[in-house]
Amino acid sequence: MAVSETMNAPEASNGSPLSAHEGAPESARERAAQYVVSRHRFRPAEALPWLLAIAAYFIFPDRMTFGSQVAIMIMFALSLDLILGYAGIVTLGHAAFFGIGAYTVALMVVRFGWTEPISGLFAAAILTGIFGFVLGWFTLRYRGLTLIMLTLATAIMLQEAGNLRSDITGGYDGLPGLTFKPLFGIFNYDLYGHAYYLYAMAALAIVFVLVRRIVYSPFGQALTGIRENVRRMHAIGSPVHRRLVTVYTISAAIAGVAGALFTQTNAYVTLTVFDFDNSAKVMVMLILGGTGRLYGAFVGAVVYLILEDDLSKFSPTFWQFGIGLLLVLTVLFAPRGLLGLIENAAAYLSKRFKS
């Protein structure tokens, strides 16, 4: 919704003068209808991130492990965008789902010897989905600060539970040296992680199409309604709680898949996946990139991870300062995120060229 809205903003905002010119109310009506009818269609610009992902495969063949991490964090941020950006659910415990997904595939290997990766993703999605459903059912009656604390507490409690049973989870030492079956029985896990890069990107593409469908569906529209004015949603007869639990379940499942991919690409997992840092990191990414606009997750995760990678080489102790500064600047001067800035620039340029 968001991308198209701003990209088409000039067209939308000068709607009345144009119709005044033509003097026919029918044309304003037709244009409005056309806008809505075509809003969900794929635009050429949307191919860009995927072309870049393919280009990266050929240009940076030695950085494919990093590339997989980017894909995973984009997916994680996308799952957060669904609930935070669209439904307006503020959470500081999203790492809970990431962690459950990560441990699902790890424990499947360790306890049951199940090493097939793709079925692992499905198992992670189902398990985290169930957990998200139950948690959402109870906590989504609350909003604001109460909800933030409940989500935060959930992630911490899961981490502590994992720590208590470190005989199962490996505690903070983790479960190292997990081996998975070759993808589709053919592609092996190689040192540079080429196969896993493509695997993670493919998973991201599937998840993205799913999320995109949801966002442009009437259900997705209802989510934005809840974000904008929950009182009115009740008044127009929306089953708000059911809508929130539904999207929370989906979001949890996607975060779980991201966590599962994390375990599979790294071949190890530790309890740090439940860290508050992990919940905060994904939110910072999303806010940097821009919430409620699908591609904000892409921009945010890429910018964050590249900065993390380069700044930490430049100054291992102070890289967080750089991230912090960028976050402050973004929140103050680009409340719609870096993607919002890019959209503004594109809109400005296209206006300049038109006139």
């Binding site: 709607g15 409005a32 969900h40 949801i214 569906s217 259900f219 309604g225 127009i236």
Partner: protein, 259 residues
């Protein structure tokens, strides 16, 4: 015989020791055109909140078409045909005007349970939304975000959403409040041309509007029904003048604002 569209029976609501609604009985027939008037703080909005289910009554019942809906949630009541507008706009400010309408239609018809099909794929919803906008002359603003509109036009969106719900009972809480007079006539035209089958309750301070629109008037004072009658009866009622209309020493019909 047909059951009344809406019945409120023995309704009480206390906030602690404060009784904001006392023993209210109110019946709206099908197609009713009822005004609810009373001084500020009389509990008019509270009564609307009790009817729509925002508030739970301390005691009493709400019946819709003879069916007890007291235990139902606000959303359930809305889906059964009770729509309202708010005294202070409650809109989806970050969405376009058109989306505000299509959302109401989508929730009404259950489309919003669909996670897969694109919103734009249902031309029929878009057309209906545009029809509602056309009746309020909002088509030119269809693609604007609600928050970009002046307050008066936002007020029209407020009503358009309620109409898009295709209600059987419509509760209008001061629909023309805060609207410049250049635009308020549009709101009143819409209110007057509502489907004659809808039962309408309007809270309004402008006595011109009340006497023009209402076939019956209910006067609420300090949470209780003070009296009820035709506009002529209310106009002639000395007590009503004393407690409400006469407070400011204005003549009835002379545009007494609020007391």
């Amino acid at each position: 015989m047909t059951a009344s569209a809406l019945q409120v029976q023995g309704m009480n609501r206390n906030f602690g020791a404060l009784k904001v609604t006392r023993d209210v009985d109110l019946t709206l027939e099908r197609g009713a055109r009822r005004a609810l008037i009373g001084p500020n703080g009389a509990g008019k909005t509270t009564l609307v909140n009790l009817i729509t289910g925002v508030l739970r009554p301390s005691s009493g019942k709400v019946l819709l078409n003879g069916e007890d809906i007291t235990a139902l949630s606000q959303a359930q009541r809305a889906r059964r045909g009770i729509a309202r507008t708010f005294q202070i706009n409650q809109l989806f400010r970050g969405l376009t005007v058109l989306e505000n309408l299509s959302l109401a239609i989508g929730e009404r018809d259950g489309h919003c349970n669909n996670l897969w099909r694109a919103t734009g794929g249902r031309r029929i919803v878009i057309d209906e939304a545009l029809d509602h906008l056309a009746s309020l002359r909002l088509v030119d603003d269809a693609l604007k975000l609600v928050r970009e509109l002046p307050y008066g036009r936002q007020r029209l969106v407020e009503i358009a959403i309620a109409l898009a719900q295709k209600p059987r009972v419509l509760l209008l809480d001061e629909p023309a409040a805060g609207v410049p007079s250049s635009e308020s006539h549009l709101i009143l035209d819409v209110v007057e041309s509502l489907d004659p089958d809808i039962a309408v309750l309007i809270i309004e301070h402008d006595m011109d509007v009340v006497f023009r629109f209402a076939r019956r008037i209910t006067v609420l004072v300090a949470g209780a029904i003070f009296t009820e009658g035709t506009p002529h009866e209310i106009m002639a009622n000395e007590q009503v003048r004393a407690v409400y209309l006469g407070q400011e020493g204005r003549r009835v019909g002379g545009g007494a604002s609020h007391g």
